[in-house]
Subunit: 195 residues, 2 copies
């Protein structure tokens, strides 16, 4: 009942870095299955994020909460992607952002302690982490650039092109928060696009 | 005339990772001195960034240019820091952002090719790069959060607390662009702070 196949994770890792069979078995042994309901909060703001998460099935969003209570969605990740509050995971400091499932979600998670242990015992694991950090850095920069540079309509079109799953699978409220626009603006853009 | 001491860079690296004398000598041999005037553009938007830069002396800013021509300063780095258009350096794709000196600046630069060569021949160099990426990721997330979450006055106060050199050394025009506010708003906040 609590088993989640590690095949997807194994392929993901094999695509990034060459590990021996023994090494990949060790790595996978540290990833533990974890099942979550829709809208479960995985990391609260102000708590240290103790896990790196691979999404086997489902969806996770990353968000900040503004002083006026409005939440601002920074990122959304789906199955076959990692989803980790990385700043807190790296630094061990309380997280500035929260992580929450948006669907029923199955994760494979490795603890900070086990992850850093692997960095010590498997030198090639450094390359995996480098790849992770490189991707996370570039993704963040794109999010920042979108936020700073583009108007509502351009942000919507870009999302439709590069990550249509967000629009197809998630509620208007979440999509609007991700695009930093009101749900009304989003509805207007959507109906325009349908013409 | 074209010599720039590598002592500062050597200490920086030694603080991050343990390398043998032979390894550090090899690493340093790939960093070449490069002198730049005030306001020189080091990386243009749309060009691939070929160098990782260590600032021995001076100051470098990172900026995007909006469609309306306004430039948006994302980051500013000073002496004894690295300053690299990292997304383009990693991906080999054209840079979305530009880098420009804001003072007379002495750099020590390593080419992409030499940097990735070092990753192959010195396994410990992976740890240096990991540390670089971790710092860059966390710095970016802070910049994003500041932009999304804080009003003008809070952004100014935060900068004054964490990076006062920006306000002390640079023009109001640059500081305003970094804080994403008009120069008039910045002047008002500065004169308030003087009271």
């Amino acid at each position: 009942m609590n088993t989640i196949s590690k095949d997807q994770l194994r392929s993901y890792i094999n695509n990034v870095v060459y590990l021996t069979e023994e090494q990949i078995a060790l790595v996978l042994s540290f990833f533990k299955p974890s099942r979550h309901l829709k809208y479960e909060v995985l990391v609260e703001i102000g708590r240290v994020n103790q896990f790196m998460n691979f999404i086997d099935r489902g969806c996770v969003r990353f968000y900040f909460i503004r002083e006026d209570g409005l939440d601002m969605t920074r990122n959304i990740a789906f199955e076959n992607e990692f989803a980790t509050g990385l700043a807190s995971f790296i630094s061990g400091e309380p997280s500035m952002e929260a992580l929450q499932t948006l669907e029923e979600t199955n994760l494979l998670r490795i603890s900070r302690q086990d992850f850093y242990y692997l960095l010590n015992v498997i030198p090639a694991w450094e390359k995996f982490f480098r790849n992770y950090l490189e991707y996370a850095y570039m993704n963040n920069l794109k999010i920042y650039q979108r936020e700073i540079m583009k108007d509502a309509s351009a942000r919507y079109k870009e999302l439709l092109r590069f990550n249509p799953k967000v629009i197809q699978r998630l509620s208007n409220k979440i999509v609007a928060s991700f695009l930093n626009m009101s749900p009304e603006t989003l509805s207007r853009l959507k109906s325009k696009a349908d013409l």
